[in-house]
Symmetry: C2
Amino acid sequence: MQLSPVMESFILHWGEMGSRWGLNRTVAQIYALLYVAGTPLPADEIAGTLKVARSNVSTSIRELQSWGLIARTHAIGDRRDHFVAETDLWTAAARVADARKRREIDPTIEALAGCLSDARTDDAIGKDAVARIRAMHDFLEAAGGWYEDVRELPQSKLETLIKMGAKVARLEAPAKKPKKKKGKGRR
Amino acid sequence: MQLSPVMESFILHWGEMGSRWGLNRTVAQIYALLYVAGTPLPADEIAGTLKVARSNVSTSIRELQSWGLIARTHAIGDRRDHFVAETDLWTAAARVADARKRREIDPTIEALAGCLSDARTDDAIGKDAVARIRAMHDFLEAAGGWYEDVRELPQSKLETLIKMGAKVARLEAPAKKPKKKKGKGRR
DNA sequence: TCCTTAATTCGGAATATTCTGAAATATCAT
DNA sequence: ATGATATTTCAGAATATTCCGAATTAAGGA
């Protein structure tokens, strides 16, 4: 695929960005490419466009699928797999959040629960240290539970809730901080 | 500092965890150590306890401070700096979120704005591709703006809002999905 | 079946990150 | 100032990650 200058810099920025969020550059770039392309692309074309090895594309695509950010499609008369990006950003963000919760938060909660259980036979640990570990466990569990609840809302309700939050904030906060905003005015 | 078995595994888990979230192992472990310790520790003791180089502690501490997760304190009759972890997890989470927004989201928004501006002189890019880039820009800007609004709420209000969200979710969602929860029942 | 093309796996090269230890710098008491 | 202790900097060693390309496996036709 032929990249215009802007498409190229978009993809490069995403590469940077992705690596800060625990994806690697190639993975992030492939998502960015499919996202701007807006049309399904076969793996070899992705490799050609981004100038990376075909095998690297294969691996990266597996990872993107595990995040639920791309889907496999097919074109008639073409045996190759083609891939499209999820372009609805709400959905994409939710997929990432789900995956991170499942992969990182949930196991951490379990690990902490394990610590707490072990702590009962650890006579070298102080009560207050155990209390702090418990505080962390409870915090994560509460946050995770809240997330699951909210996650089940239909998107429309969620949007309402979010706008509500922003509105409450705008009504409540300015009294305290009349400091002028420097952003160019959002929304 | 003498670590009990549970404290040790707590710290090790955090090390793992941290690296998934873009911190390095040492940084995460130091935070974990200070968190369980609950008491200010000098850098050399941190190094000794975690068995890492003193210089590594120095660097990692600078990073933790940049995230706002630890503070420098002093003990009378001791010239050394001592460090304590922020133990309020709400506060800690907010600090991390603030920092990530500032370091990662905001620059990305700017980069996307740059792309959009450049796109006006890029005659090789399609209209729909520009529209998708704009969609991403707007999405991030909206999310960022919302975050800022909510962030300014006093913690008590925020907690209310969150509980409200969870309640709305619980009232609305189950009708659609009567599938039983498998968690042990939170809260 | 056999041949062609697509996709994946995997050893190790290339690259990037983290960590150490020595040297430099800073801080404070005498 | 001088010395003692604390902290930071930084070059390069140690480690971890990413990436390539050759080899392998899979999937279709003919």
